[in-house]
Amino acid sequence: MALDEAVLESAEPGGCYLRRYCWAGRSPHGATFGYFQPWACAESAARRRFPGADVPVVRRPTGGGVVFHDGDVTFSFVFPWPAPLTPGLVYRNIHLGVHAGLKMLGLASRLWAEPRPDKTLRVECFSAPEPMDLTHEDGAKFLGGALRRRRGVGLYQGSLRPEGFGAQPEMLWRAVEEGLALQWRTKFSPAKPRPCVAAEARRLDVERYRTKEWNRKR
């Protein structure tokens, strides 16, 4: 989370940055929840998903619902987002990119087009598809994401579930990389964060994302 925000803050004009998460530390799993969600709601969802396990539950800077990270391909994408502001168009672009990447590898997906039945936010991101989510043919959601826009730059945090593909996560990650590169007409090269970005991420990690003040702010 901290590195995502540091990259969002320091993005070069026009720059695109794609990052894949590894889940490490005291638990190989974790849960993240939306900026506006109540802590109690996210924590109880995580307890139900991981009974008896001590998993980190962290508030994201992006919107949306609770996401469980247990075997998913977790990634973030920072990109120019000048105008229009419409989030649906941004989701569509990102998810069309992944859709194209999967197609290049011979994997089918569907851009969910059904309208939302209501405007209320679902507690768990993967409980049902939202417009512009990617699903399998049977409507089972496998790609969900959430956004933050700051000073004309966007941050997308996404989770791709491998179930139902019969493909390894590495192959799905390749689809994400190649699809987003195609959709954004860019090329991703492996890189480490600049020292100032890494330092800012460490600061945000300690002063925000690991604190109760942040995670339990509501």
């Binding site: 939306g34 900026y35 506006f36 800077p61 992006t62 919107g63 949306g64 619902g65 000048p82 105008a83 229009p84 502001l85 419409t86 989030p87 649906g88 941004v90 989701y91 405007k119 209320t120 936010l121 939202e130 994401g145 959430a146 956004l147 933050r148 826009r149 700051r150 000073r151």
Partner: protein, 129 residues
């Protein structure tokens, strides 16, 4: 209700309307339409001193959180509590019931440097908005 034509606008789509020695702040009609259905709003605390262009509030719509910037510097003296229970007011009434907060400006003349309504309408025609 604030008259949209008498407001000043920031490039980041906030409006400010001067009222006596205070100012009312909100999100432009154009921006609320683009952001679509607002489901949450986080407002600054009363008493907070903010600088022009500082991120002071957050709006969520369709799983996207947007930073909201102070169009002028000053001290927040009131917030629209109704938005916490009814954030849709931002969409329904962006220049009236959907106002965000009031502040006491601290830098005279800052609002006049922002776009007037006509200039904002022209700005919206450009690709850069």
């Amino acid at each position: 209700m604030t008259n949209p034509e008498s407001c000043r606008y920031a490039k980041s789509h906030e409006w400010v309307c001067l009222e006596g020695d205070g100012a009312v702040v909100g999100l432009s009609d154009h921006a609320q339409k683009e952001i679509t259905d607002v489901v949450f709003v986080e407002l600054p605390k009363v008493g907070r001193k903010v600088g022009q262009g500082e991120a002071v509030a957050v709006v969520e719509s369709v799983k996207a959180a947007f930073d909201f910037y102070a169009p002028v510097s000053g001290e927040v003296c009131a917030v629209n509590e109704e938005l916490s229970s009814n954030p849709a007011l931002v969409n329904q009434s962006p220049h009236d019931k959907g106002w965000f907060f009031k502040l006491k400006p601290s830098v005279p003349g800052e609002a006049r440097q922002l776009m007037d309504h006509a200039a904002y309408q022209e700005f919206l025609k450009t690709a850069a908005h």
